[in-house]
Assembly symmetry: C2
Homo-oligomer: 343 residues x 2
């Protein structure tokens, strides 16, 4: 592998000059520049990224931490796929590397270690929850003022970067849509409350009911874990309560799809027997039968935004030593009306 020294020799300049030409630093004679580039080209030389990182003291990588459960094919879920796509877009356009980091959700993850070992310059945390150890781990990160951003999960730390969608409003819109159609007995199949976005959905659901003067009925609130299987499991409970339900709001499309499959197996006719509004507007939502009325969430955009803002923070920190501006984004959602909520 050819290195800087050889290029310098061939071009008849010092190594420093080679470095400057390659990094475009300081004034230089055009003729020198050309000689160096010519020599580099002739020798097939390219900067060694590892050595460069080492000398700079930065890895040049943005890390994306995501929960990894063996046998669960995580990437296939719309949520993570879209977020990752958006992050990739931003990272790519800014010349950074994108390092995927898998964490075992059943044990505590030492985020700080990523920085100590200098594997990443910053990171984005996906699928984070409010579990106590997780909360502590994330707060520690913020306490140390390390550059990172949490996706779609609230924490009450003043220095914590967050990009999220407005799930409270999204849920409110969803339930209000049902109410507007005249349905009043509205159930809710939610995800686990350890995610703040689940709690936000609950808040939106309640607000809509309250506003319409509809009494809440705890027995019509069901809990799943955002998987299709859990939706299917909920089907028997929902089926049992069908006499008390006009409609149901479901925390994401996957659960809704599972629920629909389960209900149909139990002999239901949809949307006649039950109106459904789901959440995410994943690809699948448009081709279920009936197609899902669902809340579109700009996951791709959220990923892009988080990465972009984070990398901007990094660049700014090099220039000034002022504390970086906090990232606090809450993106709007949009109700997409299809057949599952009735005509």
């Amino acid at each position: 592998m050819t290195n800087r020294k050889e290029v310098a020799k061939l071009a008849g300049v010092s190594e420093a000059t080679v470095s400057r030409v390659l990094n475009g630093i300081g004034p230089m004679k055009e003729s020198t520049r050309e000689r160096v580039l010519q020599a580099a080209k002739q020798l097939n030389y390219e900067l060694n990224a590892v050595a460069s990182s080492f000398a700079r003291g930065r890895s040049g990588n943005l890390g994306v931490v995501l929960p990894h459960v063996p046998k669960v094919h995580l990437f296939s879920t719309y949520y993570f796929s879209e977020l990752l796509g958006g992050i990739g877009e931003a990272v790519h356009s800014r010349g950074y590397g994108l390092l995927l980091l898998f964490r075992d959700p059943t044990s505590v993850y030492d985020y700080v270690s990523l920085y100590r070992t200098q594997r990443v310059d910053a990171c984005i945390i996906l699928g984070s929850s409010a579990a106590e150890e997780e909360k502590q781990a994330v707060h520690r990160l913020a306490d140390e003022r390390l550059p990172f951003c949490v996706m779609d999960q609230r924490f009450d730390h003043p220095l914590l970067n967050i990009v999220a969608a407005d799930h409270e409003q999204g849920s409110y819109d969803a339930v209000k849509h049902l109410i507007g159609k005249g349905y009043r007995r509205i159930g809710f199949l939610n995800g686990a409350p350890q995610y703040s976005n689940s709690r936000d959905r609950m808040a939106g659901y309640r607000r809509a009911l309250l506003e319409a003067g509809i009494a809440e009925d705890d027995t019509l609130v069901y809990e799943g874990n955002y998987s299709r299987t859990s939706g299917r499991r909920a089907a028997s409970l929902v089926h049992r309560d069908l006499g008390r339900l006009d409609a149901i709001f479901v925390g994401n499309d996957r659960m809704a799809i599972g629920l629909m499959q389960g209900l149909r197996e139990l002999g239901c006719s949809l949307p006649d027997d039950l109106k459904i509004v789901a959440y995410d507007d994943s690809d699948a939502a448009s081709f279920t039968e009936p197609p899902l009325t669902t809340v579109r969430v700009p996951f791709y955009e959220m990923g892009r935004l988080a990465a972009d803002r984070l990398l901007t923070q990094l660049a700014d920190k090099d220039k000034s030593d002022a504390p970086a501006a906090l990232i606090r984004e809450k993106l709007p959602t949009e109700l997409v009306i299809r057949k599952s909520s009735g005509n």
Copy 2:
């Protein structure tokens, strides 16, 4: 950030000893080992991955190259998502980093550069095609004996690592299934022929027809690009030919879903008017209406296998200098029968 020197001082040993303890190299006194580990712990010391990579001359990263088209949310496709998940599994379990590399499919990608810049120790190429420049770029990689593996795309280079699925057989099985049900006028909506797996599907389709003594009819072969949109576009052509078609074999689920949507809009009743067998067995296949009969492809497993074999190659190369064993895997597919191919 604390470094090796400080740990050495606190433990009262040389830096080399610290290094040996941390890497578990050579014989050492248990008491020394403990002193060093204790000191490291006390100082919150961890090996600097970048410096370590630099000294070793290896990045410690496996690269995954994937085509990146702005606005196309790549990760949402089952194909890439599953592959990536499998790769992640293997990489994670072997302590490597997983670097995502996006390439612009409209211009030539310099794979060799990844190695020259030492960004990766090996890489897996996804979504590769047989386009001439692409072929040359990949062959160059093989000529240089760089460690990499191509996914699901054949090249006729003797030193090229490939992990693929047996699409010829999978397609044969799919078409034979339709023939077995008594359908003889069978169309084919294929993906672009620049992918060898498209050509393999074509070969399987032909073999099944030939074996059944059915004359091929070129006018019943349609071409899409594996997107849902392209399937929908094909719907009008297929609809026009409906009088000459009993069934159609579709190159992947997404196109099949698009085709079904399009046909239904044109007033078709499925599966009555047309039997369909698709390909991939993505999540969506089970909840379309009717559910898709489709060919299951072990993408996750393919990804895991490719990464695992590649990293094994790397490890072996450190030990012996014998040329690494070629990776040539062709995994079996499996026909999953649902309603779309009739009862």
